[in-house]
């Protein structure tokens, strides 16, 4: 089609006509010349046919351009409140309120999830700290005895230390699988690590316990202390610890799972709500 062929475009001017003349002619057509300019141009037009030709061509071009009507907008460009960034109560409100409510719920659930998770981790750190205390109390008996025995029975020390140490990992191992889910693995690991530390510290204590220069006095004091105080304490802790700690942590972990599900669920619902509102 002819109008698809690119035309050689330039502003070729007839001989004897300058660009300034073309500018004057163009402005003349729009009635934009001063009276003096107009008179001068009209005088030149009378005696210059090239100017007349160019004027005719420019007039035709101008007429053709001006024959074009304004295009009608293919649709209305009126703004919706959303486009304008204006909040109008009542308009798309149910959807958007559902979205914001779900979003809030998701955010809150996530926050609580994190709080409970941190609490759980803290509790799991606290528990082994209590356990070694109980261990120490338990171990105080052999230590005391060992101390009483002085350096004469060094072989009995490791044996007495190892005994509770072997018991505890088992206790941990049985406790670890109770709660479900992956997050539990981490606390279990930390418990195990902490237990090692707890295990390590008592072994140092005998050295300190051996340090006192008067073993006889220590022998006197230690058994009495060991007999009088640690056993009931150790028993009390050992007996009290499993029933009080595990149900709380059970509960915590159940809460964690619940909150996690709630966060994910409400988040997905909020996403769907928004998608529907936009769709």
């Amino acid at each position: 089609m002819k109008w698809f062929q690119r035309q050689q475009i330039d502003s070729k001017l007839p001989n004897g006509v300058s660009e300034r003349d073309a500018e004057l002619l163009s402005a003349y057509l729009d009635g934009q010349l001063s009276q003096r300019e107009q008179q001068q141009l009209e005088q030149r037009l009378e005696r210059t046919p090239a100017l007349q030709t160019l004027l005719a061509e420019l007039r035709l071009t101008r007429t053709l351009l001006r024959s074009q009507p304004l295009l009608r907008a293919p649709r209305n460009f009126t703004l919706t409140p959303q486009m304008a960034g204006v909040r109008v109560p009542g308009l798309r409100q149910p959807r958007s309120s559902a979205f914001s409510a779900l979003r809030l719920a998701s955010v809150l659930a996530t926050i609580f999830f994190v709080i409970v998770l941190v609490g759980d981790l803290y509790a799991s750190r606290l528990q082994p700290a209590m356990m070694p205390a109980a261990d120490a109390a338990q171990q105080a008996i052999p230590f005391g005895k060992g101390g009483g025995g002085g350096g004469g029975e060094p072989e009995s020390l490791p044996g007495s230390v190892e005994a509770p140490a072997e018991v505890q990992p088992e206790a941990m191992a049985t406790e670890a699988p109770i709660p479900t889910g992956a997050p539990v693995a981490a606390p279990a690991a930390t418990q195990a690590r902490e237990f090692n530390i707890a295990q390590a510290t008592p072994t140092e204590e005998p050295i300190l316990g051996l340090a006192p220069p008067a073993p006889a006095e220590a022998q006197k004091v230690a058994p009495t202390e060991a007999m009088a105080l640690p056993p009931p304490e150790g028993e009390a802790v050992q007996q009290a610890a499993p029933p009080t700690v595990s149900p709380v942590r059970w509960l915590l972990r159940a809460l964690l799972i619940l909150l996690g599900l709630l966060a994910v669920g409400t988040g997905a619902a909020a996403f769907l709500a928004r998608k529907r509102a936009w769709g």
């Binding site: 089609m1 002819k2 109008w3 698809f4 062929q5 690119r6 035309q7 050689q8 475009i9 330039d10 502003s11 070729k12 001017l13 660009e19 073309a22 500018e23 002619l25 163009s26 402005a27 729009d30 934009q32 061509e57 420019l58 007039r59 035709l60 071009t61 101008r62 007429t63 053709l64 351009l65 001006r66 024959s67 074009q68 009507p69 304004l70 295009l71 009608r72 907008a73 293919p74 649709r75 209305n76 460009f77 009126t78 703004l79 409140p81 486009m83 304008a84 960034g85 204006v86 109008v88």
Partner: protein, 203 residues
């Protein structure tokens, strides 16, 4: 209602008042975008964006011609789009010879209801020829000729819209018309018909 009253109401956040201004100016704004970009879809986007921008920046309107202010906004958006195209030239600027494009390039709303079918065809062809020639112009020249000859602005209003001095409007308009004249020569038959019309009009 008075334009100033509507603008004032819109400034207070009255969207309905602003939308009445939109309805009053949407043909102008769309036409400006279409003439500058030569593509219906891009023109629609520019027009819509222009009205959104106008509403949000209404506080920047300092009186004077509201039309010039609006057209300046849409013109700036068109320049952005043209610059984008220059950086990423994907689609050819000239219309493609496909049925779908025919529909877009010669929209029904261009047709004057009082014309015979023959005249209508001629009018459509002329419309295409003019749009083609406009697109061949450098954008600065195109802007001025569209503002003055299609939007019907006087030089001063065009200068305000384009943000250039009056003298620049005069010289750019003259050059644009000279180039349009050269380009339209390629459509001899079409111009022949229009020339006769012009001749009759002058007599």
């Amino acid at each position: 209602m008075d334009e100033t009253v509507l603008i004032h109401a819109a400034l207070q956040g009255d969207l309905e008042a602003f939308n009445r201004l939109v309805l009053a100016y949407q043909d102008r704004v769309y036409s400006q975008a279409y003439r500058m970009l030569g593509e219906a879809e891009a023109a629609e986007d520019a027009a819509q964006e222009a009205f959104i921008s106008a509403f949000r920046n209404l506080g920047a309107y300092r009186g004077g011609s509201f039309r010039a202010w609006l057209l300046r906004i849409v013109t700036n958006l068109c320049y952005d789009e043209l610059r984008r195209r220059q950086r990423r030239p994907t689609a050819p600027l000239e219309p493609l010879a496909q049925e779908d494009d025919e529909e877009i390039e010669s929209p029904r709303w261009l047709a004057d209801p009082g014309l015979t079918p023959e005249q209508e065809v001629e009018q459509q062809e002329l419309g295409r020829a003019l749009q083609h020639c406009l697109e061949e112009l450098p954008s600065d020249f195109r802007l001025v000729v569209v503002l003055v000859d299609i939007q019907g602005m006087d030089y001063e209003e065009a200068a305000t819209t384009a943000g250039v001095p009056l003298g620049t409007i005069k010289s750019r308009l003259a050059r644009a018309r000279l180039r349009m004249r050269e380009c339209l020569r390629g459509f001899g038959e079409l111009l022949g018909g229009m020339g006769r019309l012009e001749g009759e009009r002058q007599r």
